[in-house]
C-alpha cells in the first residue's frame, strides 16, 4: 500500500466533523444503554439525596415552596459529578482516550461529544427526578419555565464539568477531586438556577426572573467558550 496523502477538503470538513461528533455521542449513549450502570447509580443517588433532604429539613407545605429549587439543584449537582466522573473514567481506564486522540479529527470533537453525552445523561436523570419529586411532594414541577432552567443549568454544568473531569481523572485523587474543583466554579450557575427555578415555581413576574435567566445564559456562553479554548491543553501532552 502506498501512503496516500490526504488533503483537507474544505467542503467535506464540516460533515466529517459532525459525523465524528455524532459517533462519539452515539458511542457513549449506546455503551451506557447496554450496562446502565452509570445511569442507575446517578438515579439511585439522586433519589436518596431527596429522601435525606426530606428528613433533614422536615418540610411543611409552605417551607417546601421556597426550598424545592435548592433541593433539586443540590441533587442535580451531586448526581452530576457521578456521571461526569464515570463518563471520563471509561475513556481513561481502557486507554480509550488515546484512541480518541489518535483520530484525525479536531480535539474539540472529543470535548463537545463528551459534553453532549453528559448533557443527555443529566437530562435523563432530571426527567426521572422531576416527576418523582412532584409525586412525593404533591407539587407540579412541570412548568415550561422550570424545564428551561433545568436545560440551561445542565448545559453550563456539563460544559465546565466535562473539562474539569478530564483533568481530575488524570490525578491520583481522581474521585474526590472533581467535586472540589467543580463546585466553587459552578456556584454562579447554581445560584442563578435556584433563583430562576423558584421564580417559575412561585409564578413570579418575568421581569423578576429575567436577571437570573440572563446570568445563566452568560455563564453558559462564557464557560463553553473558555472550556473549548483550553481543552486542547488538557489533553495534549
Amino acid at each position: 500500500m502506498s501512503a496516500t496523502t490526504h488533503t483537507v477538503n474544505e467542503p467535506r470538513a464540516l460533515p466529517r466533523y459532525l459525523s465524528a461528533l455524532w459517533a462519539v455521542i452515539w458511542k457513549d449513549l449506546a455503551a451506557e444503554w447496554r450496562s446502565r450502570e452509570m445511569l442507575s447509580a446517578m438515579l439511585v443517588f439522586a433519589l436518596l439525596v431527596i429522601l435525606i433532604f426530606n428528613f433533614a429539613l422536615e418540610l411543611d407545605a409552605l417551607a417546601r415552596q421556597t426550598v424545592t429549587s435548592g433541593v433539586l439543584w443540590v441533587t442535580f449537582a451531586f448526581a452530576g459529578t457521578l456521571g461526569l466522573n464515570r463518563s471520563m473514567a471509561v475513556e481513561k481506564d481502557r486507554g480509550c482516550l488515546d484512541g480518541l486522540l489518535l483520530a484525525p479529527v479536531d480535539r474539540s470533537v472529543i470535548y463537545f461529544g463528551k459534553a453532549l453525552s453528559n448533557l443527555v445523561f443529566m437530562l435523563a436523570v432530571a426527567a426521572i427526578v422531576l416527576p418523582v419529586y412532584s409525586i412525593l411532594y404533591n407539587t407540579n414541577l412541570f412548568r415550561p419555565g422550570l424545564l428551561l432552567v433545568v436545560l440551561l443549568g445542565s448545559v453550563g454544568y456539563v460544559a465546565v464539568g466535562t473539562l474539569l473531569a478530564s483533568m481530575a481523572i488524570q490525578a491520583r485523587t481522581r474521585d474526590i477531586l472533581l467535586p472540589i474543583l467543580l463546585f466553587p466554579v459552578v456556584i454562579p450557575l447554581l445560584v442563578a438556577a435556584v433563583k430562576a427555578s423558584t421564580g417559575f415555581l412561585q409564578a413570579l413576574p418575568i421581569e423578576d426572573i429575567r436577571p437570573w435567566l440572563n446570568l445563566l445564559v452568560v455563564y453558559d456562553v462564557i464557560f463553553i467558550a473558555a472550556a473549548f479554548m483550553v481543552f486542547d491543553f488538557v489533553v495534549e501532552e
Binding site: T173, V191, K195, V234
Partner: protein, 232 residues
C-alpha cells in the same frame, strides 16, 4: 543564581520599614473612629490583606495564560507562588474581616457578596493546590494548574455578580443591624492616607514574598536536577 540578589535584600529592608511605618500610622497617625472605636483599626489590615488576596488571584490567572502560551516552567513557579501566598493573605483578610464585623454587626459572619466571594476564592485556591498534589508529571501539573487558575479567575466575577443580585433582591437580615451595609464610615484625610499607605505597604510585602518564593521554587528545580545527575 545561588547567592541572594542584592536588590532582594534591599526590598526586604524596604518592606520591613514600610510595614513598621504603616503600623505606626494605623495606631498613632489615624484618628480614632467615632462610632466604632479602636476595633476600626483592624479595617486597615483587613482591606490590605483582602486586596493582596485578590491581586494574587489575578496574577495566578495571568501566570496561567502565560504558561500555556510559552510553556516556560518559570510561569508555573510564579503561579504556584502566588496561589500559596494568596491563600494566606486572603485567609488573614477573611479572619480580620470577621474580627471587625463582630462588634459592629454583632455577628461573626455575614453572607454578603464580598465575604462570600472571597471565601469561594479561598476554596478555589485550595482546590488548585489539591489538583497539583494529585499529579506526578511536572509538565502536566503545570498545564492543569494553569487551566484551573484561568477557569477560577473567570468564574469569580460571575460569582460576585450572582451573589450581589441575590442580596439586592432578597436582603437578609442576620442578627442585629443590616449586614448588607458596608459598615461604611466617612474617612477623614488622615484615615485615607493611612488606608492607602497600608495598601501600598502590604502590596510591597506581597512582592517581596513572591520574589522569595519564586527563588525558592527555582532552587527546588535545581535541586531536582542535581539529584538526578547524582543518581546516574
Amino acid at each position: 543564581m545561588d547567592a541572594k540578589p542584592r536588590w532582594l535584600s534591599v526590598l526586604d529592608v524596604v518592606t520591613a520599614l514600610m510595614l513598621t511605618a504603616a503600623t505606626i500610622m494605623v495606631f498613632f497617625y489615624a484618628p480614632m473612629e467615632a462610632v466604632m472605636g479602636p476595633v476600626q483599626k483592624v479595617f486597615y489590615y483587613h482591606v490590605a490583606h483582602a486586596w493582596v488576596g485578590m491581586l494574587s488571584f489575578i496574577v495566578a490567572g495571568i501566570a496561567g495564560i502565560a504558561y500555556l502560551r510559552t510553556k516556560n516552567i518559570k510561569w508555573d513557579i510564579v503561579g504556584l507562588a502566588t496561589v500559596e501566598l494568596g491563600m494566606v493573605f486572603m485567609l488573614v483578610g477573611i479572619v480580620t474581616g470577621s474580627i471587625w464585623a463582630r462588634p459592629i454587626w454583632n455577628t461573626w459572619w455575614t453572607w454578603d457578596p464580598r465575604l462570600t466571594t472571597t471565601t469561594i476564592m479561598e476554596l478555589i485556591y485550595a482546590a488548585y493546590l489539591m489538583l497539583r498534589q494529585g499529579i506526578e508529571d511536572p509538565e502536566r501539573r503545570a498545564r492543569f494548574g494553569a487551566v484551573y487558575a484561568i477557569l477560577g479567575v473567570v468564574s469569580v466575577p460571575l460569582t460576585f455578580f450572582s451573589i450581589r443580585i441575590f442580596r439586592t433582591i432578597h436582603p437578609v437580615v442576620i442578627g442585629g443591624g443590616d449586614p448588607g451595609a458596608d459598615g461604611s464610615f466617612d474617612m477623614t484625610p488622615k484615615m485615607l492616607q493611612t488606608f492607602l499607605f497600608s495598601l501600598l505597604a502590604f502590596t510591597v510585602l506581597y512582592a517581596d514574598l513572591m520574589w522569595h518564593r519564586i527563588r525558592l521554587g527555582r532552587l527546588a528545580e535545581r535541586v531536582e536536577q542535581l539529584k538526578l545527575r547524582l543518581s546516574q
